[in-house]
Point group: C2
Chain length 127, copies 2
């Protein structure tokens, strides 16, 4: 399955990936992909990323079971970012929220929680 | 207006910014902000970014008039990405589309246009 010509991976070989809920359009998370992660995502239909902190390919939900089934992949005008619409199993965020963007910045710079906890990380990651 | 403590700008002093239409939840674009761009965005209520290609601060819509009026700013769990909900004047994409993500990746790797052209770049950027 060929990767489109002209895609711009950065000097670390990565591209921004934005993940959006295919049903309610909520933005769930942002991660990075290298070419292999994108290829695996296209081939398997489940999201793969590249972890910059662990320096390795990462299948989302491999340990938690919280897979992302990819419904559509879009590319932006500059071809240096992709937008994926996914069917998210349980929640995207390792903290237990449906979306990683569960905090709103207030005018005074304080952060206010505004999101739904859908799983308990202590249970999910207990092994 | 203080920037929240703990925000993680990368080694180039930048953070990923995802821009979403506050009305219909369409993802409009992705750009980068440095600390000054975020501060100006919070202070003025219109989106500012940092252009990596031009190495300068950038007020979105300064020449086109296609401003982004910021309704909400969210931060992700790792505090290395922000999500802004905006009221977009005209279109976000310099090509003339409402969203920069106007192309869908097909299974064969080909790109298919799927978006609404809302302005003519030749007219908008003619000066």
């Amino acid at each position: 399955m060929p990767i489109p010509a002209g895609m711009k991976f950065n000097d670390q070989g990565l591209i921004v990936a934005i993940v959006q809920d295919a049903e309610n359009q909520e933005v769930l998370m942002q991660a990075f992909m290298n070419e292999e992660a994108l290829r695996l995502t296209m081939e398997t239909g489940v999201a793969h990323y590249y972890s910059r902190s662990r320096n390795k390919l990462w299948k989302k939900g491999e340990s938690s079971g919280h897979l992302q089934h990819v419904k559509e992949i879009r590319i932006d005008c500059d071809q240096d970012a992709i937008l994926m619409k996914v069917q998210q199993v349980s929640g995207a965020c390792h903290v237990g929220f449906r979306s990683c963007f569960y905090r709103v910045m207030e005018a005074d710079g304080k952060l206010r929680e505004d999101g739904n906890k859908v799983f308990d990380p202590k249970e999910t990651y207990k092994t």
